[in-house]
């Protein structure tokens, strides 16, 4: 499989340099790391919001650095959590003295490395909090799993936490709204093809032309179920029903929806899903307050999509629609 790369080991490094070359005024890369921060970090008087995780999910994470969203983002190797020392460097660079909130997706690697980093930062007297996003309803949260994964709903958490911090709120408050968002968001995804990592150079899993994977994560993992290919409407119905079942919302509830592309999906197809999604949620008596469509949290070149629904109240709506100015999202 062909890729526009020079060397599979240099992908993350060169990607970050190319990103910096595109946004030289907004971004700064910490020396000798794969950490990107706001050019003006730390922003004095503001709680720092940081995130990070494996690479391959672009525009996540660094694409959401900027006013009203993230102060820093650490990029691990493709699909591999960043290391604790780099996470610590990031936390230090984003702390203005008001403390730092880490938005972590629920993967054991991410959680363990962020925890270690948090301990290291605490030793430097930085107040660090962690919120763990686990919006993926495909994976049951039970004793028999390591919990639900964090996927596309993470973007909403970045947005809400970033907006609250931009208001000048304290760490406690920022953490509270982030957790409120986490408690109210659910996602489920589908893959039509596997992604190809630069390192392996071949599809992570084989998926015949008449089958799809339901309940995939964002790391090229196989999903929870392999089924026969279905129409866009059938797929949307299936994903949306699972998501709504999990959220169990009252009629009339206002919601924010996201149809997220996995990287290799034409935008036209995402809109075809959105068309059906809006029919389904309206059939459930829900009120769409806003609908996002696009590539927010990808899996390299995977063809597929995820559907996210979040219940929103006045507070969340205000934070979600507050100004943001980042490479990947301008509100």
């Amino acid at each position: 499989m062909k890729k526009l790369i020079n060397d599979s080991e240099a992908v993350v490094d060169e990607m970050l340099d190319g990103m910096l070359a595109a946004y030289p005024e907004q971004l700064r890369r910490l020396d000798d790391t794969e950490v990107m921060v706001r050019a003006d970090a730390p922003v004095s008087g503001k709680v720092g919001i940081v995130s990070g995780g494996g690479s391959g999910h672009e525009p996540t994470h660094a694409g959401f650095i900027g006013d009203g969203m993230l102060d820093g983002a650490a990029a691990g190797e493709v699909f591999t959590s960043p290391t604790a020392d780099q996470l610590n460097d990031m936390i230090e660079a984003c702390d203005s003295g008001e403390g730092v909130l880490c938005v972590v997706k629920n993967y054991e690697g991410d959680v363990m490395n962020f925890e270690t980093a948090g301990e290291m930062a605490a030793m430097e007297d930085i107040e660090v909090r962690q919120v763990v996003v686990n919006d993926d309803v495909a994976v049951e949260d039970s004793l028999y799993t390591s919990g639900r994964r964090g996927v596309a709903g993470t973007i909403f958490v970045h947005k809400v936490a970033g907006a609250k911090a931009a208001e000048g709120a304290e760490l406690d408050e920022v953490e509270r709204v982030a957790n409120k968002m986490i408690d109210n968001v659910a996602t489920m995804g589908v893959a039509l093809t596997s992604c190809v990592t630069p390192d392996k150079g071949e599809p992570t899993f084989d998926l015949p032309d008449d089958e799809i994977e339901l309940g995939i994560g964002i790391h090229g993992e196989p999903g929870t179920e392999r089924v026969d290919m279905m129409s866009a409407d059938e797929i949307t119905d299936h994903l949306t029903e699972k998501v709504l079942e999990d959220l169990d919302l009252d009629e009339g509830q206002e919601i924010l929806t996201l149809v997220n592309g996995m990287g290799g999906t034409p935008q036209s197809e995402l809109f075809i899903l959105n068309r059906r999604l809006q029919e389904v949620v309206s059939d459930h008596g829900l009120e769409t307050w806003d609908a996002w469509v696009g590539d927010y949290m990808t899996s390299l070149d995977m063809m597929g999509a995820s559907i996210t629904v979040a219940a929103v109240d006045e507070e969340l709506k205000e934070l979600l629609s507050a100004d943001a100015d980042t490479p990947a999202l301008t509100v």
Binding site: V78, T83, Q86, M112, D199, E221
Partner: protein, 212 residues
């Protein structure tokens, strides 16, 4: 107890051997991780252990404890993912058992401390289809062989390595409860755990080096 300088040499040689082996097994481990994970375990470990071997290669100053710690610290900062803190963090924290050098006793202590730390950090019990499944029988066998059966260390470690292999095989027919494989639910059954496999490979190399 061998001379200290010889211990350091052995540690450097072991690090080198492990790094070489993991480079050789990189594709195989990633293949295993493709089936039930995210296709990076091979490159994570190959990258990390190569850096670790390089980090200690020219270090003529450090004590055995310091060398082992350095390996752990390097893994923490080079591996990432779940296996980074598990391998790196546990090696780092268990390294203090070598304060007085590497002996049969301190090796048992290291093995126990390492296993405890992995279980503590990863919160995985036996049978969750993780590296813990290879590690536990290996550590139990090693400890018993030394402390109860009073076997020579090399023989004990050979038995421990064989036990690890049994653990690797045991991961195949069971359902994952931890790590990325757990997301697959029942579909994880029938696949071999990458982390258990790499644990066994590493032990094989340590055995080789110890044997020389």
């Amino acid at each position: 107890m061998v001379d200290e300088p010889t211990q350091q040499e052995a540690i450097r040689a072991a690090a080198e051997a492990v790094a070489d082996r993991l480079e050789d097994e990189k594709e195989y481990l990633t293949e295993l991780d493709s089936a039930i994970g995210d296709a990076d375990h091979g490159s994570n470990l190959a990258r990390g252990f190569r850096a670790a071997a390089d980090a200690v290669a020219d270090d003529e100053e450090s004590t055995p404890e310091e060398l082992v710690k350095k390996i752990g610290v390097t893994l923490i900062s080079k591996v990432g993912g779940a296996s980074g803190p598990l391998y790196g963090g546990s090696i780092m924290s268990a390294s203090q058992t070598f304060e007085e050098g590497v002996t049969a006793e301190s090796s048992v202590a290291f093995a126990e401390a390492y296993l405890d730390k992995v279980k503590d950090r990863g919160d995985a019990q036996l049978g969750a289809k993780t590296m813990v499944d290879a590690l536990t029988p290996a550590v139990h066998t090693f400890k018993k062989s030394i402390e109860v059966d009073e076997l020579p260390p090399l023989t004990a470690f050979a038995k421990a390595t064989a036990a690890a292999e049994r653990g690797v095989e045991y991961t195949v027919p069971i359902r994952a409860q931890k790590g990325r494989a757990s997301y697959l639910g029942w579909r994880s059954v029938g696949h071999q755990d990458p982390g258990a496999t790499s644990t066994w490979f590493i032990m094989q190399e340590l055995l080789e080096v110890a044997d020389d």
